[in-house]
C-alpha cells in the first residue's frame, strides 16, 4: 500500500481534533471531538460540513451521447444545469461504480467514488480518450442539513434559488464555486467544488457560522444509511445489478426502450421485464443489537441455509434504533417479511422495511 493522500483540508481536520484514518487511499477524518452520534444529529438539526475531496472530480468534453455507451442513464436528456445519479455497468450487468453526472453546457462534470476514481478514469479514457480531464486542483465540500441553504447563501446568495439536483457556477470571495444542490445524507444541502488553494478559507468561513459543524466519515455513513443510500463496495459492486440493487429508477425510460446500448443491457433489461432473483431491502432488527455487514439472514430460527446477507448495518441516531440493508430473494423482499439475522451465533428477529428509514428532505 502506497503513501496515503491528503486533501487540502488535512491540517484543518487535525487542528480541529479529527481522528484521521486510512480510507480509500486517503487519510480522512472519521470523527471529531463531538463524536459520531452528535455529528449525525447536528447534521439533521442544523448543518454539517464534510470534506469529500477524496472523491474523483472529472470533466468530460464529449458529446453527452458518447457517455451513454458506459452508463444506462439518459445523459442526452439531461438538461443544462442539471445533475443525475448514474452507474457504470459491466458486460454482466454488474455495477462498476456509482457516480453523479452534471450537464454544464459545453461539458459534463462527473463525481465518482474515491476508491474507484483511478479505475473509472481509465474506463472513461479507453472509450473517450483525451476528452476525459480529471480535476486535480479542486477540493470538494458537502454542506448538508436544514441550515445548509441559509449558511451557503451568506457566501453564495444564488445557491438559495437552486433546487434539488441543480448545478451552477457561483462566483464568490473564494473563487468560482461549482455548486450542486445534492449530497448523500438524505438532507437538503450542497456539494461545493472549490479551488484547492481556497478550500480552507471557504471551510473556515462556513465553520465560523453557528449552524455549521465539521462532520466525519462515521456520521456520513450513518446518515446515508438512514437515507437508504448505497455505499459502493458494500451494498453495490460488480456482483450486483442495478435492478437487484433497487436502483432501476436511475435507468430512465429512453434507455429501457430506445437507446439500449449500454454494458450489461441484456441482463439488466431482462431483469426490468421479468424481475431480478434477489433485491436490496431495508431491514430493521427488532432488538437493540446492530446487524452489521456480513450478517447472514435466515427464514427461521432453525433453517440450515442462509437466504441472504446484510451489506450495511449500523445504529441510526435519528431513528434511535439499529438499521441494516441487505439482499434477500425476491419472494422474501416484501415489506413486513419476518427474517432472522445471525449475530454472535444467535438468530435475532429482523423485518424487511421500506427505504429510506428516515424520510428525505430534498428541496425539489
Amino acid at each position: 500500500m502506497g503513501e496515503l493522500k491528503r486533501t487540502p483540508l488535512y491540517d484543518l481536520h487535525v487542528a480541529r481534533g479529527g481522528k484521521m484514518v486510512p480510507f480509500a487511499g486517503w487519510e480522512m477524518p472519521v470523527q471529531y471531538p463531538l463524536g459520531v452520534m452528535k455529528e449525525h444529529l447536528h447534521t439533521r438539526a442544523a448543518a454539517g460540513l464534510f470534506d469529500v475531496s477524496h472523491m474523483g472530480q472529472v470533466i468530460l468534453r464529449c458529446d453527452p451521447a458518447a457517455l451513454e455507451a458506459l452508463v444506462p442513464v439518459d445523459v442526452i436528456g439531461l438538461a443544462q444545469g442539471r445533475q443525475r445519479y448514474g452507474l457504470f455497468t459491466d458486460e454482466n450487468g454488474g455495477i462498476l461504480d456509482d457516480l453523479m453526472i452534471a450537464n454544464r453546457g459545453d461539458h459534463l462534470f462527473l463525481v465518482v467514488n474515491a476508491a474507484m476514481a483511478e479505475q473509472d478514469i481509465a474506463h472513461l479514457r479507453a472509450l473517450l480518450g483525451d476528452a476525459v480531464e480529471p480535476v486535480t486542483d479542486r477540493a470538494l465540500l458537502a454542506l448538508q442539513g436544514p441550515a445548509a441553504e441559509a449558511s451557503l447563501a451568506r457566501i453564495a446568495p444564488e445557491a438559495a434559488d437552486m433546487r434539488f439536483m441543480d448545478v451552477a457556477v457561483i462566483p464568490s470571495d473564494f473563487g468560482d464555486l461549482w455548486v450542486s444542490r445534492s449530497g448523500y445524507t438524505g438532507e437538503d444541502g450542497y456539494e461545493i467544488s472549490v479551488a484547492g488553494a481556497s478550500a480552507v478559507a471557504l471551510a473556515e468561513a462556513l465553520l465560523a457560522m453557528d449552524e455549521v459543524e465539521l462532520i466525519g466519515l462515521g456520521a456520513r455513513d450513518s446518515l446515508r444509511l438512514e437515507a437508504g443510500l448505497c455505499l459502493y463496495g458494500a451494498d453495490i459492486d460488480t456482483g450486483t445489478t442495478p435492478i437487484e440493487a433497487d436502483l432501476g429508477w436511475a435507468i430512465q425510460k429512453a434507455r429501457r426502450t430506445k437507446r439500449t446500448g449500454f454494458p450489461g443491457a441484456a441482463t439488466i433489461l431482462d431483469q426490468i421485464q421479468n424481475g431480478a432473483p434477489r433485491k436490496r431491502v431495508g431491514l430493521l432488527p427488532e432488538g437493540r443489537a446492530p446487524m452489521r455487514a456480513g450478517t447472514q439472514l435466515f427464514v427461521s430460527e432453525d433453517a440450515s441455509e442462509p437466504v441472504g446477507t446484510i451489506t450495511s448495518g449500523a445504529f441510526g441516531p435519528s431513528i434511535e434504533r439499529p438499521m441494516s440493508m441487505g439482499y434477500v430473494p425476491a419472494d422474501l423482499a416484501a415489506p413486513g417479511t419476518a427474517l432472522f439475522g445471525e449475530v454472535r451465533n444467535k438468530r435475532l428477529p429482523v423485518t424487511v422495511t421500506p427505504l429510506p428509514f428516515r424520510p428525505t428532505t430534498y428541496k425539489r
Binding site: 472519521v30 470523527q31 463524536g35 459520531v36 452520534m37 452528535k38 462515521g218 450513518s222 437493540r288 443489537a289 446492530p290 452489521r292 449500523a314 445504529f315 439499529p322 454472535r344
Partner: protein, 119 residues
C-alpha cells in the same frame, strides 16, 4: 481500584467486585449503542467473553477479569447505552462479581500503572 490491560476497572468493596470500563476505553470505542450483559447467577471464568458492547464503529467483547459468580448487573446501561460514554467510571458500571479466586486481582495494575500503560 485495579485496572486490566483490557481497560476494565475493578473496585473491590467488602469482597464484591464492581467492574466497568475505563474512560480511556469508552473514548476509544466511541458512542456506545448496545450493551449485552450476563445473567445474574452465572459462574464465570477469567477471560470468558461475558459482555458484548457495540459502538457506532464496531462490536467488542468484555472479558471476565476474574473467576467468580455474577451477583448483579447494571440494567440501566442496557436501557441507555450512552451512559457508558457519559460516566464510564461511575454510574455506568457493568456487573458485580463475587470472586472465587480473589488473589487473581493481585496481578492487575493500580491507577498510576494504568496511566503509564495507556500513555
Amino acid at each position: 481500584m485495579k485496572y486490566t490491560e483490557e481497560h476494565e476497572w475493578l473496585d473491590d468493596v467488602d469482597g464484591i467486585v464492581t467492574v466497568g470500563i475505563t474512560a480511556h476505553a469508552a473514548e476509544q470505542l466511541g458512542d456506545i449503542v448496545f450493551v449485552e450483559l450476563p445473567e445474574v447467577g452465572t459462574e464465570v471464568t477469567k477471560d470468558d467473553e461475558i459482555v458484548v458492547i457495540e459502538s457506532v464503529k464496531a462490536a467488542s467483547d468484555i472479558l471476565a477479569p476474574i473467576d467468580g459468580e455474577i451477583v448483579e448487573v447494571n440494567e440501566a446501561i442496557v436501557e441507555e447505552p450512552a451512559k457508558v460514554n457519559d460516566d464510564p467510571e461511575g454510574e455506568a458500571w457493568f456487573f458485580k462479581i463475587k470472586p472465587s479466586e480473589p488473589e487473581q486481582m493481585d496481578d492487575y495494575m493500580d491507577e498510576s500503572e494504568y496511566k503509564d500503560f495507556i500513555g
